[in-house]
């Protein structure tokens, strides 16, 4: 079995995001970029399948600007066999464009399973997995928290509202990974040293024009402080009233 993992570089979850002067993009200076955390689950799962002797190769494909090479190095350090970066000129592209450039590359490769995150934490569209399935004409299972593969078929446990379901499908298929699937490993230092020397193959991506464009970005409203209702037992009725009527959680 051959596995392809799609990974994206995103701003760190703790980064202090500033909106640029154009009000349409973020300021990159001072931002730490990391591997999309959901893609990390995908890499870990692919490596685990390989370690279990069920896959012969794991290839990670990244997309985005030149700096995205770094996350591919992380993937190498974690244990993937090879990487390729589909380099785009634009810093940010929409999901459909991304799915199309990924599909164009993947069509030239042989594979049995594609793994990627359920979403990228920067744009959060949750579209690339399903779109890729459509473009490659293969089944897509989303939000997977447990995965079993046996070469020709896969069985996946996926989150649904209020519970879970277990689904089966034939390979090749695409699976989008959700938290709970595994604990991504910390790359071994030996792996990090190897990855430092790795020459990342960079291919220009044939990206078409975006169909969706960002027109405005804005900060969320500043969080208002908490409210002190009172102290001790006498405050309870007022608190319950507020929770019921204002917060509507009771």
């Amino acid at each position: 079995m051959k596995i392809i993992v799609c990974v994206k570089q995103v701003p760190d979850t703790e980064a202090n995001i500033k909106i640029g002067a154009d009000n349409k993009s973020i300021v990159e200076a001072g931002i730490k970029f990391i591997i999309n955390p959901f893609d990390e689950f995908a890499i870990e799962e692919a490596i685990k399948i390989k370690e279990a002797g069920k896959a012969e190769s794991v290839i990670a494909i990244g997309w985005g600007p030149e700096r995205s090479q770094e996350v591919l190095r992380t993937a190498v350090a974690m244990g993937v066999d090879d990487v390729v970066l589909l380099k785009t000129d634009a810093v940010s592209i929409d999901s459909y464009t991304a799915a199309k450039i990924l599909a164009a590359k993947i069509k030239t490769m042989s594979y049995d399973l594609i793994l990627t995150g359920k979403e990228t934490i920067d744009d959060g569209n949750m579209q690339i997995g399903p779109m890729l399935g459509e473009l490659l004409n293969i089944p897509c299972v989303t939000l997977v928290t447990k995965l079993d593969v046996d070469g020709a078929n896969l069985s996946a446990k996926r989150e649904i509202e209020g519970g879970y379901e277990v689904v089966e499908t034939a390979c090749p298929a695409i699976v989008t990974c959700q938290k709970g699937l595994n604990e991504p490993r910390y790359p071994s230092i030996r792996g990090v040293m190897l990855a430092k020397k790795k020459v990342v193959a960079v291919e220009p991506a044939a990206a078409e024009a975006d169909q969706i464009t960002v027109t405005t970005m804005a900060y969320p409203a500043a969080r208002s402080g908490g409210k002190v209702v009172g102290q001790g037992a006498e405050a309870v009725p007022a608190l319950v009233k507020l929770l019921h009527e204002e917060a509507r959680v009771l």
Binding site: D12, E14, G30, R185, Y186, P187, S188, I189, R190
Partner: protein, 661 residues
């Protein structure tokens, strides 16, 4: 004097025993040499020699932590020294009648007076040590089984006892046979003589001959036995003391990632040669485990077991190693378990207590390094801490842009604005991100501003000092942190660095030099004490009850700073300072060092609970600490034990800031 046959038998026995002994010593020396050779320990030879002589002759090595046992050990040790000469005479006497190494003057008489007396003390010593080992059975020498093997000690104690008895009986017999004049200076032998007076001359001669042979054969058996037992410390111990480290306890060596692809010790020959020397020197006395916070809280770790298991392991591999081949198996799992190496808090109590100057911490860290960097096997809880250090340069993985948020509403100058200052205040991760640590930073800022100190912080430019990464074996990540900080600090001019965290202080002061960062670094308690004594800080004594002070490992044992924190606290307390039973260099760790702050503590009892109990026993109302990690551990321990109304914990900076006039 012996007849020719006797002489030939004796010579053969001596050659066989000494040859065997020499071979075993040679084998161990070669095993030591199979280790890595980055450590150099032959500088200042006279200082080293002086240290060994003073420590060995005084027997302070043994007496300092266990006075009674130590004195008994001293009796046995002195028995050995005196008897060495007696044994030479004994052997030479077989070939030359009446030979004496010291001649036949008064000195020789005095020496044999010494031998006579020492023999009695030596017998007392062996009986005491035997009773202790086989009847009293203290945990230090009997646990954990099966590593401590009592039969070894039984053999050795019997041999020493036998040597004394055979000597005295032989001398007693001689006195009866040859008369009093021979033994003017031998009161004990003289006292033995009457016991033998009833025997016939033939019987006496036989007895003497038997005792003579028994004595010399015991000496030779002892010689053969020594290398195979912990009693090899007779040879290796003093050598190991000579080779001791002159750096602060627990200081770690740099790995040159350009030069090696094998990090840490996966196999036993990847230790530094000095570590292997340590394995052969271990006496199995258990002083280390008596003071080890991990062992005392029922974790899997005992420092002496680490030493003894690795000794067993390297001897087991000696065949391969001496042929220049790789060991047949790795250290971990077969000889040492993960639970052992990850339980270490790197507090240094073991190294402080070790009578033969073993260095347990570097050995444990070498195994962590291999586990972490080569095999990726380490406690999972460290994963987020490492990721945090990598992306945001703090182990809590909070946004690095929020590093100076604690100082927002305070008047704390930045290096970027001032460019130079007398003190660069390296705040550290705990002081920047941990709520309890931030309180310390705010208090210290108040103090610095009140005293008008010329200082500045690095703000967002500061990164983690790297201590948790280095102690947890992630040298690569530590070096990233260290190099970044050195580069940042190069931009600015300052005279000294001051830190609120002993971990940052130690690593900046003693380990950043490996990366070109040579600084004068002081701890905030030192600066506070100095400001108070110079009259720049006006404090008034608060009547808030007695204070006890908890010595942080990295401040105390690592850097010998014991007085300044106490001076600062004394200036603020009307009710005075009370000491815990374990204080100063014998202080008991809070449990957070060595990266333990970021690991789960599931086995045994909690270390911080033990230390909170120590503080509670003093009757003090406040524990003064000098480290943000100690503060967190105490705070948690006090809450978990429900002692909030009896005891509170505050950093020295907080206590002083509260008493500013």
């Amino acid at each position: 004097m012996l007849n020719l046959v006797g002489q030939i038998v004796l010579v053969l026995c001596i050659l066989a025993a000494t040859g065997f002994f020499a071979f075993e010593v040679w084998k161990r020396t070669r095993l030591v040499k199979t280790g890595r050779r980055d450590v150099i320990r032959t500088d200042k030879p006279m200082l080293r020699l002086g240290f060994v002589i003073c420590r060995v002759i005084s027997q302070l090595c043994s007496i300092k932590d266990r006075p009674v046992v130590g004195v008994m050990h001293a009796f046995v040790f002195w028995g050995f020294v005196f008897f060495a000469v007696a044994t030479i005479n004994h052997v030479a006497g077989a070939f030359s009648q009446g030979f004496s190494l010291w001649g036949h003057g008064t000195f020789n008489d005095l020496w044999f007076l010494g031998v006579d007396i020492v023999a009695v003390f030596c017998i007392i010593g062996t009986i005491y040590l035997a009773v202790r080992r086989f009847i009293v059975k203290p945990v230090a020498i009997t646990k954990p089984m099966p590593i401590s093997r009592s039969p070894q000690s039984a053999i050795v104690l019997s041999l020493i006892f036998g040597l004394m008895v055979t000597y005295l009986l032989n001398q007693g017999g001689e006195i009866v046979l040859k008369g009093e004049a021979f033994a003017r200076w031998m009161p004990v032998s003289q006292a033995v003589a009457p016991l033998l007076a009833g025997l016939s001359t033939g019987a006496l001669e036989l007895l003497n001959s038997v005792m003579w042979w028994a004595h010399i054969l015991m000496v030779l058996v002892f010689l053969v036995f020594i290398p195979h037992s912990k009693h090899f410390h007779l040879v290796a111990g003093p050598v190991n003391m000579f080779l001791r480290s002159h750096e602060p306890i627990g200081t770690l060596k740099k790995i040159d990632f350009e030069k090696t692809e094998e990090f840490g010790a996966t196999t036993v020959n990847q230790f530094q040669w000095k570590s292997i020397m340590d394995f052969f020197s271990c006496v199995d006395c258990g002083r280390c485990q008596d003071v080890c916070p991990a062992f005392q809280s029922d974790k899997a770790l005992s420092p002496k077991v680490i030493m003894m298991s690795l000794r067993k392991h390297i001897l087991h591999e000696s065949g391969n190693l001496l042929k220049g081949e790789a060991p047949s198996e790795p250290i971990m799992e077969a000889w040492i378990k993960d639970d052992e190496i990850w339980a270490c808090t790197t507090c240094g109590a073991c190294m402080e207590a070790c009578p033969v100057c073993n260095e347990h911490i570097p050995t444990i860290i070498e195994m962590r390094r291999a586990r972490m960097m080569m095999e990726n096997k380490f406690p999972q809880e460290l994963n987020p801490a490492f990721k945090g250090l990598e992306t945001n340069s703090n182990p809590w993985n909070m946004g690095s842009s929020a590093r100076a948020e604690w100082a927002q509403d305070l008047n704390v100058p930045r290096m970027a604005e001032k460019q130079q200052a007398e003190y660069l205040w390296f705040v550290g991760c705990a002081g920047c991100f941990d709520d309890r640590g931030k309180d310390i930073s705010r208090a210290f800022a108040k103090i610095l501003n009140a005293a008008g100190v010329d200082y500045a912080i690095l703000g967002e430019e500061e990164g983690c000092c790297g201590d948790p990464a280095r102690r947890a074996g992630n040298e690569y990540l530590f070096q990233m942190n260290a190099e970044q900080n050195v580069t940042t600090m190069q931009q600015y001019k300052f005279k000294k660095i001051v830190t609120c965290c002993p971990h940052g202080m130690h690593i900046l002061k003693n380990e950043y030099g490996q990366f070109g960062g040579n600084y004068e670094v002081i701890h905030h308690s030192q600066l506070i004490a100095e400001l108070i004594s110079a009259g720049k800080l006006k404090v008034e004594s608060n009547g808030t009850g007695k204070i006890t002070y908890h010595d942080s490992c990295y401040l105390g044992r690592y850097n010998h700073i014991y007085n300044e924190p106490r001076q600062a606290l004394q200036a603020t307390s009307k009710d005075g300072l009370v000491e815990m039973a374990r204080a100063k260099n014998k202080s008991f760790c809070c449990g957070a060092g060595g990266g333990r702050m970021f690991m789960e503590e599931t086995a045994g009892t909690r270390i911080n609970h033990i230390r909170v109990q120590d503080a509670l026993n003093t009757g003090a109302a406040t524990v003064g600490v000098a480290c943000p990690f100690c503060k967190s551990m105490f705070d948690d321990g006090i809450k978990e034990k429900g002692l909030e109304d009896k005891l509170k914990v505050l950093d020295i900076a907080q206590i002083v800031a509260n008493s500013l006039r």
